[in-house]
């Protein structure tokens, strides 16, 4: 929150006006002096106390204001008690009496001006426009000694005390309007409608508080996130201008501002300066400001000026003293302060539980969130998918300036042991937190959660099924290989991957048959265990199962995705024999039955293609697989034109 020393110099002078970067202030709840509607920043209850003192020969402290504000959105109500808004003058009345001994005795007078309390109302008409009014109650007490002649047989002058108290209500209207996001315009009346009692002693008429009608125009410009320039002009000719800036400090906001003002009723042209420093954190705010006049001020003044000009303002006039003021503000929120609001959340991915790892770096939903508060906050997004997540899953935090709309990416985590057998519509709850323990906003969206066997059709994602079948595959491959221990023991090491592949494949296909997907309308992939148990599957299932078995035996595999036009896509396997090219002759003299791929050390290795749907024997599967790979990937340049893709499992 950025605050400006928004204390006006004229009839609109106040001790509490402060703007933050949204143009509305947390600290202005006790201030009616600027636009009447400017305290509408209050979220719920707010309490403000302004105290301070004047500098003369000593520091004389006063309690200036106690204010209470309540918001019943979009309505705002404020009550203000101002015991320190008073100014007393005492002086010789301008008359003296010569008594018998020729000595002169001056007659005394004292006038006391007070603003006792006020009430205000404002309403937020739109996001950009608010309007309101204030009513403030003033009293004026005139006390004067005077001489009254009494005629009888003799004449004598009676020294009498004449006292008169009058009061009036001051009513004003005002509006605040954000013409642009960074430009706030304020317009308010000054002394629009005043009504109350009048003086019966006409000699006091000229001493009444001057209530010249004026219009106040204010501009607040926010050229940068931590800079506020303000200017206020009264039709009387008085004006003020100020600058404020600030930064984050100890979890709150520390702000500095300086305002200079010209008051047509005071000298010199720039009558004074108001420096201020403020700090706000959570629901607390404190502001310390000074009022330094550029003319000499003391506790005596010119009677003739007062007699001629009177005063226009109780707390800021040519007799006002330099001041130091502290402004405390407390938000007593029974309703939690809300900074963030969802605009919408869009589900961009249905959930495939087996593809869990893919959700680590790919959001399943994207939301739009707006900062409706008056300070920069960190958006902390969370989500929870019913039936899938046991707790809320956090997503990366994003910083949002006041008024900004930010894009929030929601990620999710799927439990390793998730076993969903049915595809069903679930609900995802999305939460955004800012500074509170409770979320600022929440929204719920339907999301499709597929069964564990569901596959999104991307061959690259078959590796997640392979990995999930690893536990079963390790036991399966070990068991088979152990049965061929004598063969393996007598095999040269460099041929072991090839021989193991041969053994495992032959054993794997022994009892299997090819069967198409059980659900025609959806991609469905069996885990290796299911394929073995069910004794069959389609190319996806068989490739996944064989890959898992070979990988569990330490044999590197890759999926080959044949994206044939107009036909169902096909998947089979490439198996790394681990042989260098010069040893390929150990396997075959037909160079169309193998291909070379570089390993991680950029050395060529011999890979062979296996058609997993060929469920006769290894050599046949190798033969068919090689032919298909050779034709489609190499001769037809499928690898070059993208119709064939090789996806390494690891």
């Amino acid at each position: 929150m950025l605050q400006a020393g928004n204390i006006l110099a004229q009839s609109s002078f106040s001790f509490s006006g402060s703007n933050d970067i949204s143009g509305k202030s947390f600290n202005t709840i006790g201030s009616f002096e600027t636009t009447p509607s400017n305290y509408s920043v209050t979220k719920d209850w707010a309490f403000s106390l302004i105290t301070g003192g004047e500098f003369s020969d000593y520091f004389n402290s006063s309690l200036y204001t106690i204010a209470l504000s309540k918001r019943l959105s979009p309505h705002n109500f404020t009550l203000r008690y101002t015991p320190g808004y008073q100014k007393e003058f005492f002086f010789n009345s301008g008359e003296s009496i010569i008594i018998n001994d020729s000595t002169s005795n001056s007659l005394q007078a004292s006038f006391n001006y007070r603003e006792l309390f006020g009430l205000g109302y404002s309403i937020d008409l739109t996001e950009e426009l608010s309007a309101g009014f204030t009513m403030r109650y003033f009293t004026q007490e005139f006390n004067k000694e005077t001489l009254t002649p009494v005629f009888s047989d003799s004449v004598y002058l009676l020294r009498e005390n004449v006292n008169e108290n009058i009061s009036f209500w001051k009513t004003d209207l005002g509006i605040d309007y954000f013409l642009f996001k960074d430009l706030l315009i304020s317009l308010a009346s000054v002394n629009l409608l005043n009504f109350g009692s009048s003086v019966s002693e006409s000699e006091f008429e000229k001493y009444k508080l001057k209530t010249e009608k004026n219009v106040l125009l204010g501009l607040n410009y926010f050229p940068a996130s931590h800079l506020n320039l303000s200017a206020y002009y009264e039709s009387s000719g008085s004006f003020q201008t100020g600058l404020s800036t600030g930064f984050s400090f100890l979890g709150g906001n520390l702000n500095f501002s300086a305002t200079v003002f010209h008051d047509k009723y005071q000298e010199p042209f720039i009558a004074g300066i108001i420096p201020s420093i403020s700090f706000s954190i959570n629901n607390f705010g404190i502001k310390i400001l000074g009022v330094k006049y550029f003319s000499n001020r003391n506790t005596s003044g010119s009677y003739s000026f007062f007699d001629r000009e009177g005063i226009n303002n109780i707390i800021n006039n040519r007799y006002s003293l330099d001041k130091a003021v502290m402004n405390f503000t407390f938000a007593l929120n029974t309703q939690r302060e809300k900074y963030l609001e969802f605009i919408d959340v869009e589900i961009i991915e249905e959930i495939f539980p087996t593809l869990s790892e893919s959700y680590f770096n790919k959001p399943f939903a994207v939301g739009k969130v707006v900062n409706i508060g008056n300070k920069q906050v960190t958006v902390k997004p969370f989500s929870k998918i019913e039936g899938l997540n046991e707790s809320e899953i956090t997503s990366p935090y994003v910083s949002a300036n006041p008024g900004d709309t930010v894009r929030i990416a929601f990620y999710t985590l799927i439990p390793e042991n998730y076993k969903g057998t049915k595809t069903e519509i679930s609900y995802a709850d999305f939460f955004i937190y800012s500074i509170n323990d409770e979320p600022d906003d929440r929204i719920q969206k339907a999301v499709l959660v597929n069964s564990s066997n569901a596959w999104d059709g991307k061959v690259s994602n078959l590796k997640f099924f392979i990995k999930k079948g690893f536990e079963f595959s390790i036991g399966y491959s070990k068991n088979i290989l152990s049965m061929h221990k004598s063969v393996l023991d007598t095999t040269k090491n460099l041929l072991l991957p090839f021989v193991k592949t041969n053994i495992l494949f032959d054993h794997f296909v022994k009892e299997l048959v090819y069967t198409a997907d059980p659900r025609a309308s959806a991609e469905y992939v069996q885990f290796p265990e299911e394929t073995v148990k069910l004794k069959g599957g389609d190319c996806d299932d068989l490739s996944v199962a064989l890959s898992a078995i070979l990988e569990s035996a330490g044999i590197q595999t890759a999926l080959v995705d044949y994206k044939a036009d107009g036909e169902p896509r096909h998947v089979n396997l490439l198996v790394n024999t681990g042989l260098a090219p010069e040893y390929a002759g150990f396997l075959t003299n037909n160079d169309t039955k193998y291909s070379l791929r570089k390993n991680e050390f950029q050395k060529d290795e011999v890979w062979i293609a296996i058609e997993t749907t060929s469920l006769t024997d290894f050599n046949t599967a190798w033969e068919i697989g090689s032919q298909k790979f050779n034709n489609e990937a190499l001769i037809n340049m499928g690898l070059s034109n993208g119709k064939v893709e090789i996806i390494d499992v690891y």
Partner: protein, 305 residues
């Protein structure tokens, strides 16, 4: 850290609340214009409304002096009167010399004055002043009595008098010369003030207790003027000065309305305002100190509304 900050703020709040119990300091307004501390200084002149004899030194022209306070008293006055059938313009110069060792009292023991002396020939602007009896009246046991303190020197001429020898020149000076029977003559110039011309605007009425009098005059840069407010007694057709007001020579005065509102109309028919701009000072000549009064007076009669 937040808790610490919160506690500090709460302590400051409590401290501010407790300490902020005084009210703002009042301002004492003082007036230092022209050295006059008050806008107007009011002196009650007549305490006995039956006493038209001005024991305190006022006469019907509004010329104010109480000569018995001094051993001598020299005056030069330019006098105007408005509101009568015929306006009066007059120049008056007087000189009185008292023998302070020879007081005169009423039978009741009240000091009336001192026996006067005539030390020689007195001239104003080289015109010889006449010696005339200095008669004063006083009331004794309900009876008006006259007595003479001796002789005084008077040189006075009204407007229209073809034998007018003495003209009081405003904003100038009057030459005073005393040619004693024995010794050296004493001569000096008496400065004269700017002419004062006033006007009176009445509003409201006495019955409604809102009688207002706005007095205006040609302002000048002096230390102040005096305004004598008097009344004309219906029955005796005699004027009675009530108040003397000293105020700034700024050209305007609103008379405090209570001073006029209480004047009984059944007894008094007219209000009399006398504007006085004067120089009053002491001057030494021939080892004698002379008390000198030089003044411009304008007296205005108006009916009580």
């Amino acid at each position: 850290m937040k808790q610490v900050i919160k506690n500090i703020m709460l302590m400051l709040f409590a401290l501010a609340f407790i300490s902020g119990c005084d009210k703002p300091l009042p301002t004492e307004l003082v007036s230092v214009d022209n050295g006059i501390s008050d806008e107007l200084e009011i002196e009650l002149i007549a305490q006995d409304t039956e006493d038209e004899l001005y024991h305190n030194g006022f006469d019907t022209t509004g010329i104010a002096h109480n000569p018995t306070a001094y051993s001598n008293f020299i005056t030069a006055s330019g006098v105007k009167t408005s509101g009568l059938l015929q306006p009066i313009h007059a120049s008056i110069a007087t000189a009185i010399f008292f023998d302070k060792s020879n007081p005169i009292h009423t039978p009741g023991g009240r000091l009336l004055g001192f026996v006067t002396r005539t030390p020689g020939v007195v001239r104003f602007n080289n015109h010889q002043a006449q010696r005339v009896p200095y008669v004063i009246s006083f009331r004794d046991h309900g009876m008006v009595r006259d007595t003479t303190l001796g002789m005084r020197y008077v040189l006075s001429f009204r407007n229209g008098n073809p034998h007018n020898q003495f003209e009081f020149e405003y904003g100038s000076s009057v030459n005073f010369k005393l040619e004693p029977l024995i010794g050296t003559a004493v001569e000096f110039q008496i400065p004269t003030p700017q002419e004062i011309t006033g006007s009176v605007t009445l509003s409201g009425s006495r019955e409604n207790k809102n009688l207002r009098a706005r007095l205006n005059w040609n302002k000048a840069d002096t230390a102040g003027i005096e305004i004598i407010i008097g009344v004309l007694d219906k029955r005796k057709n005699a004027s009675l000065p009530l108040y003397r007001i000293r105020t700034r020579d700024d050209g305007e005065l609103i008379v405090p309305f209570r001073l006029l509102a209480e004047i009984p109309k059944d007894k008094f028919s007219r209000l009399i305002f006398t504007f006085i701009r004067k120089f009053e000072f002491n001057r030494t000549g021939g080892n004698v100190e002379y008390h000198i009064l030089s003044q411009s007076l304008h007296t205005i009669f108006v009916d009580i509304p």
